[in-house]
Amino acid sequence: MNQPVAAGQTEIVIADPIAPGRRLFGHVLLAAATLLLVGTALLQVLDVAGIAPVGFLNWRPLLYAYLVWAVALGAWQVITRGYIGQRALFVLPAALFTLAVAIFPTLFGFYIASLDWNLSSAEGPHFNGFHNFVSMFHDAYYWNALLNMGFYLLAVIVEYAIAFGLALLLNAEIRARKFFRVSFLLPFMLSPVAVSWMIGKSLMEYRFGPAARLARDLGWHTPAFFAQPWTARIAIEAMDAWVSIPFIMILLLAGLQAMPKEVTEAAKVDGANGWQAFWRVTFPMMLPVSVTAVLIRVIFKLKLADIVINVTSGGPGGATDTVSSFIYRVYRDRSNVGYGTALAMFYLVLIIVFLTVLLRVTRHWTRSVND
């Protein structure tokens, strides 16, 4: 057996001598569990497909078979590989859980995306290959929503700039700094749905909203914030930004506070003014935090839906529609499960590709700036 390893010593793993009988038992155990899993799945598939009435009332037995198989897999690791197998148990549950709740649903999602499945259809779901994806390429409303996402994504740059300014302000030695920190965070604590109603449907209401009245006082006689495409887009973006800028700000503030003060002080000693100190010292040093903050914000932005659904329903004429709000309508109002899933899956792939590229570019950029 392995002995406890003293501090500073390198652990040497010696494979347990596994008896052939024990190893065989492990293999048989796993094979039996695998047979159970595959057999359960097969019976249920045959039943659901109408080939043979040999399945169960529902798919739940397959879940139980999976759990049995997962336990058998762990046991097999320990029985056949000894100590090395025990180490695998640290990772295996998490891996199997991920498989069950993330990887399998994603793959299943691609299967659903290949179905012509409208919940109201008398014929039920049936396989139609890539037809949903082909339809998607001809769906002007989906591409309009994607185009709008471009605008919303570009607006993240503005959000970042404002958030950086606020973070610098809150990092400075100003009065009531703690009060302002909490105050600036408040919008982030609000539900976007509440913001939709408080701001979009109340403050900005055309007839009696205070924002509309102020706009009238300032000379805009018909302050209909959501009647024209660009004003509506900007109004929606402003609301979303108001909620989310504090999130970027707090990440940047944490970065600023973690930054060694000696560096900025040294810059001052060397004669750098505030502008130079920011661009030559603070901004480059904050790049890793900035990239993280912007990336997280981009991910959130790509899911924008609640404010749009509540305030404009995507209008006027699709001007504020987002991919998520469009998919929401396809699902909720039109019960078009197959097509809606195809839209969501394509969007998922787009997001993964986009974020991967963005990460690589920013990593390269961060390196070059800091070098």
Partner: protein
């Protein structure tokens, strides 16, 4: 929709005195309502109709108009007093051991909340027990469709709107109504449009109605009795008298005329459209503009060709209705394109903006009773405006009827009903329990109470049209007469535009809403957009199964 109304009614019960004072301005109202559109039948009195007036009077005093919102105790009292039908058909304790699951809505403390109270004495008497599945309205369609699609129907009784009958009854999932229930709930008392084919499929009856729905026309009496506007109208060269529009052509003319005018120091507006999508429900509002153009007398279909399911939404009648909206929007409030029906009816019209709006009965019910309404004393009602001409889809020509303008009330949504699922048929005792509970909720006397108090349900029986009962309960006579006439004259209209109760009907509506939003935003011409809607509907029909849809559409229209 309706839950708002009844909440408003209750919120305003404290204002009942103010409401009763608000009879001023209604003198002209009855004349306006009756003159143009004609009153249909109205029973003389409840006593003459052979109703149990004592019982009805008694339940209307629970808790009493102006005495605050009803509580669960009140629901139970009403349920207890209305238990007569149950006692006729079920022996005490006969259904002991039966458990039923009921799926319905929990909108703003109405629907299921009332059913629980109404059914509590029924449970005590029969011995049966009911378990509840409460849903928010937004979740209703998804829950229903998913359960049907995945074969996981976990309820025995269902509160459902008639538009979903295609999805449920059309698939043979509901239990056929036994004869003893038909006798118990007096279906002859239903308003015309809720009689068969509504609630039926292939000649079999499935539904116990508990609610009625129609769009009516709500207008401002002060606008249309304003001397300055009348003079300006004449000065503008109009030959007709200034008054409440009776056709959509007049609605358009008045809406354009009012642009830039002021009434009582405020900007005046005419008709209020509801262009913003509203989960499919917004399409009803275009339907109300289109029905007089598209619903040809004597022909049941107006949305699809019955033999092919070819959409009519791009025919000249519908395109004219779409064009009307496009033409009217510049004369409506600047933010109108972002107004959904809820905002149009409640925030705008009841808030004093605009002079004409189409809605379900909720707007009229709330006009006097809602604290936020400022138009209670100046609100009038009629059935939907007509049209000088009507499109005959068979000849492809517009026709002027010798009888005058064509009227076609949009009987939108058809109201809620109670349905029993087929799965209870295998257990006679359970089946009897389910139908007994459904009959109890669909009783004639209970119906009067639910329409007079916050419940989420409106009139659906002719016996609810006895003005004397409403007046005795505390309503202003002229006002309630005008309002109820607008409802019942729509319900019983011979040319009512019936909802196509086919599977996925809200998918059609929702798809149309997206395209209409683009039309109203100026991205598409009316005909171009209508053609897109028609193409999308054709695609949807193919996806849902054309032959099946044709069959179900015919069944829905009783053909």
């Amino acid at each position: 929709m309706k839950p708002d109304v009844y909440n408003r009614i209750m919120a305003a019960q404290a204002n009942r005195r103010a409401m009763l004072k608000g009879a001023a301005g209604l003198g002209a109202l009855a004349a306006l309502n009756g003159a143009g559109l004609g009153a249909f039948t109205r029973p003389a009195s409840a006593a003459a109709a052979g109703l149990d007036t004592e019982l009805r009077k008694k339940i209307l005093q629970i808790p009493g108009v102006g005495k605050g919102s009803p509580t669960d105790a009140d629901y139970r009292k009403v349920g207890e007093l209305c238990l007569g039908g149950t006692k006729q058909t079920v022996k005490e304790g006969e259904l002991k051991g039966v458990e039923l699951t009921f799926m319905g809505l929990n909108n703003q403390n109405t629907h299921d909340f009332l059913f629980r109270g109404f059914l509590h004495p029924w449970e005590e008497y029969t011995g049966a027990k009911i378990n509840w599945i409460d849903l928010a309205q937004a979740d209703y369609n998804a829950r229903l469709q998913q359960a049907i699609s995945t074969g996981t129907i976990d309820w025995d009784m269902l509160e459902m709107g008639a538009p979903f009958e295609g999805d449920v009854c059309g698939r043979g999932l509901t239990s056929e109504m036994p004869d003893w229930v038909k006798n118990l709930i007096d279906m002859d008392d239903y308003v015309n449009y809720l009689k068969a084919p509504v609630g039926t499929w292939d000649g079999k009856l499935y539904r116990v109605s508990i609610d009625g729905d129609t769009h009516n026309f709500n207008y401002r009496t002060d606008y249309f009795s304003d001397a300055d506007l009348a003079k300006a109208w004449k000065d503008a060269g109009n030959k007709s008298e200034w008054g409440v529009p009776k056709t959509w052509q007049e609605v358009q003319a008045v809406t354009k005329f009012l642009k830039g005018k002021q009434v009582k120091g405020q900007d005046a507006y005419g008709y209020l459209d509801a262009p913003k999508p509203w989960g499919g429900f917004g399409f009803y509002f275009l339907g109300s503009r289109a029905s007089a153009y598209a619903k040809y007398p004597g022909e049941k279909a107006w949305l699809f060709d019955v033999d092919t399911m070819k959409p009519r939404v791009n025919n000249p009648a519908w395109v004219r209705a779409i064009q009307d909206v496009i033409d009217a929007l510049p004369s409506e409030p600047p933010n109108q394109i972002n107004a959904d029906p809820n905002e149009t009816g409640f925030a705008e019209f009841l808030g004093g903006t605009g002079s004409m709006v189409v809605w379900w009965g909720d707007v009229g019910a709330a006009a006097k009773t809602s604290d936020s309404s400022v138009v209670g004393d100046v609100c009038g009602f009629s059935i939907l405006p007509g049209s000088d001409d009507v499109y005959n889809s068979k000849t492809g020509k517009w026709e002027k009827l010798s009888s005058g303008p064509n009227y076609a009330p949009n009987l939108a949504y058809l109201g809620w009903g109670i349905y029993v699922m087929k799965k209870v048929d295998s257990d006679e005792k359970k089946k009897k329990a389910a139908w007994s509970a459904a009959a109890h909720l669909g009783g004639k006397d209970l119906a009067l109470w639910t329409s007079a108090y916050p419940s989420g349900f409106q009139c659906y029986r002719n016996s609810q049209h006895h003005i004397d009962e409403w007046v005795a309960a505390g309503y202003d006579k002229d006002y309630i007469t005008s309002y109820l006439d607008s409802q019942f004259n729509s319900y019983n209209h011979p040319n009512g535009a019936i909802e196509p109760r086919i599977p996925g009907i809200f998918q059609y509506y929702s798809t149309a809403e997206d395209i209409l939003a683009n039309i109203f935003a100026g991205k598409l011409k009316a005909q171009e957009g209508a053609d897109q809607i028609a193409a999308a509907w054709e695609k949807l029909t193919d996806q849902l199964g054309r032959e099946s849809q044709i069959k179900l559409y015919k069944a829905a229209l009783g053909m």
